[in-house]
């Protein structure tokens, strides 16, 4: 079985190629079968691999061929498989399969059905390569591959320029991070002589000191890639706009898999990060800042998908916080549970949007509880897990993160408090969504409720979002063991009760309206704050002024090639001389005679200046 691991990414890739080549001739049924079936097959293979691995948990490596060999630089097309790989592959193929199935109904009416599944399959293949790669260069291939697929899918409905704009923004902003990461790769290879992850981490631990400059720079460059892909500060601005893509795409790429690639990257190279405590601290702080920033922003949004997008940014912030404090297992655990409940929420919102004539504004919804019961329960369970209410999957993972953050060096309690504030906000914004959309009076009448191809994925994900917390992920051998001691009991109690408080607040404000906040909101400070948070803290505005517009301006100024002016000058001088000479050709004899005489006089005068031609003094 282990020798067949390359089939897992290959099957979706082949399916993508067939779909692309045959887009014009394949019948719709076959397109759906290929699209869903290929990912299903990959999921099945992953399951078999997993069973074999759990029976005999021995990591292995499979090398297919040497990608390129120049001097001692010889990265391979090779896969590495351990517990972490298994977790990631399961999430990608499992959740991926459900989302593909959902898509067959969601995209049913679309004219570019084949193109959609081709892109989606290609994405799965690239994402699998990313997590299976044995070396950082192959990982980078997957990394860029998912970026391009994300670009293609965000801009899937290309006729609308706004979608194209969002797609380009997503690609370019992440490319900024990717470039930092590429520089990191260059540095790592130059210093350590290999990009094979296991060998490289080994070499780093021999050659580098803990706290040295090189590991710090290397880790920060990798972190650059991670914050780009995982939409963390300061490169998070692309994710809310990326919601322009079809909603199942948002579920798969912009919630469950691709955006967690940065978390995976840091977890995979944790051996390097352990050498750079400063870098880890920065990871934790980036995570904390992001989770708070995004949670406040989510509170103000009115577009259902933007709420979920900011929520995703915020939850990945928790994962970064976990990585930063060395809670590797908790971070990956949260990655998995988040994939379940956030995919669930996105698919649920997809169902709403699908049956509500593409309505995105939550205040134009309402009362959907009785009309779309499957979707309602999906949202209830998904939001409960997102808010980390006890017994849901999100509770187990987030609780672990908060407790381990509390124990982290001196600033632990501060990180814990920040995370807790985030948890409160999370509970408020997620149940604000539930109360506004599903309760109250109906503003728009839905066309029906989900068919089976939508219901099955929703129900399956509901189950996973509920029980996912009881899974034990097989990463014990991958990460160093966390310390066994627990913080004081009160810390634990507070961590558990804060989300409940959040739900209560949401209920009082948005459902029973016993708590009236209108006065605060309508005050001038409240209004300013609302606008500030609604705009995502003005970061887009800032980037627009600081980077986008200057780039347009510079490019526009240079457009007509200023350097050509220099060559133009040479031409102009030539032409001027030419002009003079042409003028002098008058054809009049007296002009010619006069100028000859004048020339003669000048020559003679010059000759008198030359000493050798002077008559010698005193000569007889």
């Amino acid at each position: 079985m282990a020798d067949m691991i390359w089939l897992v990414p290959l099957i979706p890739l082949l399916s993508a190629i067939i779909l692309m080549l045959g887009s014009a001739i394949l019948p719709r049924l076959l397109i759906g079968l290929l699209g869903v079936g290929s990912v299903g097959l990959a999921a099945l293979l992953t399951m078999l691999l997993g069973l074999e691995f759990l029976a005999n948990p021995e990591p292995f490596q499979l090398s297919l061929w040497t990608w390129m060999q120049v001097g001692n630089f010889s990265p391979s097309i090779a896969f590495y498989f351990d517990g972490l790989t298994l977790v990631m592959m399961s999430v990608i193929t499992g959740v991926g399969f459900l989302i593909h199935l959902f898509s067959t109904e969601f995209m049913e009416e679309d004219t570019s059905y084949a193109r959609y599944f081709a892109y989606l399959n290609m994405f799965v293949a690239a994402m699998l390569v990313l997590v299976m790669a044995d070396n950082l260069l192959l990982l980078y291939l997957g990394w860029e591959g998912v970026g391009v697929c994300s670009y293609l899918l965000v801009g899937f409905w290309y006729q609308d320029s706004a979608n194209g704009q969002a797609a380009r923004k997503a690609f370019v902003v992440t490319r900024i991070g990717d470039t930092a990461m590429a520089l990191g790769l260059l540095l790592l290879f130059t210093e350590l002589g290999t990009l094979d992850i296991q060998a490289m981490v080994g070499a780093a631990n021999i050659e580098w000191q803990v706290g040295g400059t090189l590991p710090l720079i290397a880790c920060l460059l990798l972190l650059g890639g991670a914050v780009g892909k995982s939409a963390q500060l300061p490169l998070h601005t692309w994710l809310p706009d990326a919601m322009a893509g079809p909603t199942p795409v948002s579920a798969l790429i912009h919630a469950a898999t691709m955006v967690t690639a940065g978390v995976y990257l840091i977890a995979r190279t944790h051996g390097l990060f352990l050498l750079a405590p400063t870098a880890m601290m920065i990871v934790a702080l980036v995570g904390l800042a992001t989770l708070l920033m995004a949670a406040f922003t989510a509170l103000m949004q009115t577009d259902i998908k933007r709420i979920l997008a900011y929520s995703t940014i915020s939850q990945i912030g928790y994962m970064f916080l976990a990585l930063g404090v060395g809670a590797w297992t908790a971070g990956i655990f949260h990655l998995m549970t988040h994939a379940f409940f956030k995919a669930l929420l996105f698919l649920g919102s997809g169902a709403i949007i699908h049956y509500l004539h593409h309505e995105h504004n939550i205040f134009k919804m309402g009362g959907l509880r009785t009309r779309m019961p499957v979707t309602f329960w999906s949202f209830m369970i998904g939001s409960a897990a997102l808010a980390a209410l006890p017994m849901t999957s999100g509770f187990f993972s987030k609780d672990q993160i908060l407790l381990q953050a509390y124990q982290f060096s001196d600033i632990g309690p501060l990180l814990w408090f920040g995370g807790l504030l985030g948890a409160l906000l999370t509970a408020i914004y997620s149940f604000r969504l539930v109360f506004v959309v599903f309760f109250g009076k109906a503003n728009t009448e839905p066309e029906g409720d989900t068919g089976w191809r939508m219901a099955v994925p929703l129900i399956t994900l509901c189950t996973l979002a509920m029980i996912g917390g009881y899974f034990i992920i097989p990463v014990a051998d991958v990460f160093p063991v966390a310390s066994g001691d627990h913080p004081a009991h009160w810390v634990e109690y507070v961590s558990i009760s804060v989300p409940l408080l959040g739900v209560l607040l949401a209920y009082l404000i948005f459902q029973s309206r016993q708590l009236n906040v209108d006065r605060w909101v309508s005050s001038s400070v409240g209004q300013a704050l609302r606008r500030f948070w609604l705009s995502g803290w003005g970061i887009d505005w800032l980037y627009d002024r600081a980077f986008v517009r200057p780039y347009y301006r510079i490019s526009g100024l240079l457009k007509n090639e200023p350097i050509d002016a220099i060559y133009g000058l040479v031409v102009a001088i030539n032409q001027t001389f030419n002009h003079w000479l042409v003028e002098s050709q008058t054809g009049r004899m007296r002009w010619y005679v006069a100028s000859m005489v004048l020339g003669l006089i000048v020559l003679l005068t010059l000759a008198l200046q030359i000493p050798a031609l002077q008559p010698t003094e005193g000569a007889s």
């Binding site: 006729q159 194209g164 380009r168 470039t179 130059t190 490019s555």
Partner: protein
């Protein structure tokens, strides 16, 4: 003789193509394609007769008998000028690229050239012949001859079959290359004279002129003569201004040959002549050269972004991509040099394809202005998908040839100068910006209202086949570049060894 035959087939083939016009309008292009394919078969048949290419021995740069092929005959013995050709892995790669892209160029002009087809195909074949001469001539006088000769048919192609502003573009192209060629001639004569005073022998042979002892100052000036000639052709910032005009105004086949092949003669000249003939001077100069390269990467990308003319945008992207070649050559280590060679090949395909797409659009829409385009994907999904492929290739998607090239250059460069690498890496970001805006303005967005009524036919079988060849080539180069790397490796290796011996005290 094989090398001379390769050139002669093209020269004679050009005459035949011209004459064949009498036999019918469609004959010249068929004759031309046949001639190029024949040339390819001829080359391959001789290669298969030779030793296994994957086990090329390292050719000694200064000993022609170790090269793959070598031919020498007296020409003007009084000045030591001979007809000397030689072939090693790098030149073989370039020769193959020239012939393949030549065939592709003929296919790309299958329907868009309507007037004087016979003379057009003849010029195309003669340009190819000139380029082959440049890649194989190792007598410096002969090299100069081919260098100048390849310009003339190219000039005609732009001046006769070009677009609205062809006269200006053709003249600009000609003057830039001619003027810089003159510098090379002066430098060549200077080098020969220095060699004569050292050895008492007149010789223009590359093999004799290597290792010519000379004063530091002399070496600097002579090196500069070669350098400028080659970077004008490459082109490097700030000598690139002829290129956007020439590319934009040339007919499609002309742009394909210009971008795909002619630019590579500049890169080839740097690797073959400018550095090995003056290793110490080149080393002293390397920082400046790399700075020009890095500046070109960024400058070309920034300018590409603001262009509204499809072809002009692609032309500026070439300036950016060729910056990587300059960086690779002057970083002068194995990784970077391999990257530079790889970039020459990969860029040949990706840019040729983009120019072909531009040509196809112009044929259908009668404009290159992207403000008149938009939403073309809807009516021409095949062309859109193909364009998307080459756009992501050109922005350096891993798995395709251009990525291997750029990554190797950056990796090699990083070992020499990390800060320069960081600047050059900005090209990855700016490259994405202009590449994606190209797709947006032409194929994506709402269908342009001005296009209503135009019947836009999608790519047909001939076009898809041509594109498929280039796609397969780029995927192959991206996932298994080893055959190309192996071909260049022994040559680069021995060049590196020779120059390091030279430089060592």
């Amino acid at each position: 003789m094989v090398m001379i035959n390769l050139i002669l087939i093209l020269l004679v083939g050009g005459v035949l193509a011209m004459l064949s016009e009498r036999a019918g309008e469609n004959m010249p292009r068929r004759v031309a394609l046949t001639v190029v394919l024949l040339d390819i078969i001829y080359l391959l048949s001789h290669l298969s007769g030779m030793a296994d290419l994957t086990q090329l021995q390292a050719p000694m740069p200064d000993d022609p008998s170790t090269w793959l092929m070598h031919f020498k005959a007296q020409w003007i013995p009084a000045f030591g000028i001979s007809i000397e050709f030689a072939l090693d892995g790098v030149s073989l790669l370039m020769v193959m690229l020239t012939l393949v892209l030549g065939a592709i160029a003929i296919s790309s002009s299958w329907t868009d050239v309507m007037a004087k087809r016979g003379f057009f195909e003849a010029n195309l074949l003669w340009t190819l012949a000139g380029v082959l001469g440049v890649f194989m001539a190792l007598d410096l006088f002969l090299f100069f001859l081919f260098w100048e000769v390849m310009l003339i048919p190219m000039y005609f192609m732009i001046a006769i079959w070009g677009h609205e502003n062809r006269g200006y573009a053709a003249m600009k192209f000609f003057i830039f290359t001619q003027a810089s060629g003159l510098l090379m001639l002066v430098a060549t004569l200077g080098l020969v004279a220095v060699n004569h005073s050292a050895t008492g022998q007149w010789s223009f042979s590359y093999f004799d002129l290597l290792n010519t002892p000379m004063a530091e100052q002399t070496a600097h000036w002579l090196m500069l003569g070669f350098f400028i000639a080659f970077v004008v052709k490459l082109p490097a910032f700030p000598f690139h201004t002829w290129l956007p005009d020439a590319h934009t105004q040339a007919p499609t086949a002309g742009s394909v040959i210009l971008a795909g092949i002619l630019l590579k003669t500049g890169a080839y000249g740097l690797i073959r002549f400018a550095v090995p003939l003056f290793p110490e001077a080149a080393l002293d100069f390397s920082f400046t050269a790399m700075a020009l390269g890095a500046a070109g990467v960024v400058y070309g990308a920034v300018l590409a972004f603001s262009q509204t003319d499809f072809k002009r945008l692609v032309a500026y992207s070439s300036v950016s991509h060729m910056g990587f070649v300059l960086l690779g050559v002057y970083a002068w280590n194995e990784l970077a040099l391999q990257g530079a060679v790889m970039q020459m090949v990969a860029h040949g395909f990706s840019t040729a394809a983009l120019f072909m797409i531009a040509g196809s659009l112009q044929e259908r829409l009668h404009t290159r202005d992207m403000r008149e385009m938009g939403g073309l994907w809807q009516q021409m999904p095949r062309m859109g998908a193909v364009a998307m492929f080459f756009v992501v290739a050109s922005l350096g998607l891993p798995g395709l040839g251009n990525f291997v090239a750029e990554f190797l250059v950056l990796l090699g460069l990083f070992q020499v100068n990390p800060w320069m690498t960081a600047v050059a890496a900005l090209g990855l970001i700016t490259g994405a910006i202009y590449s994606l805006i190209l797709m947006q303005r032409s194929f994506q967005g709402e269908p342009n209202a001005k296009l209503e009524g135009h019947s836009l036919t999608d790519f047909g079988r001939r076009e898809m086949l041509t594109m498929a060849v280039m796609m397969v080539a780029l995927i192959g180069l991206g996932l298994y570049p080893q055959p190309v790397l192996d071909m260049a490796q022994p040559v680069l290796q021995s060049l590196l060894e020779m120059t390091s011996v030279e430089i060592a005290p």
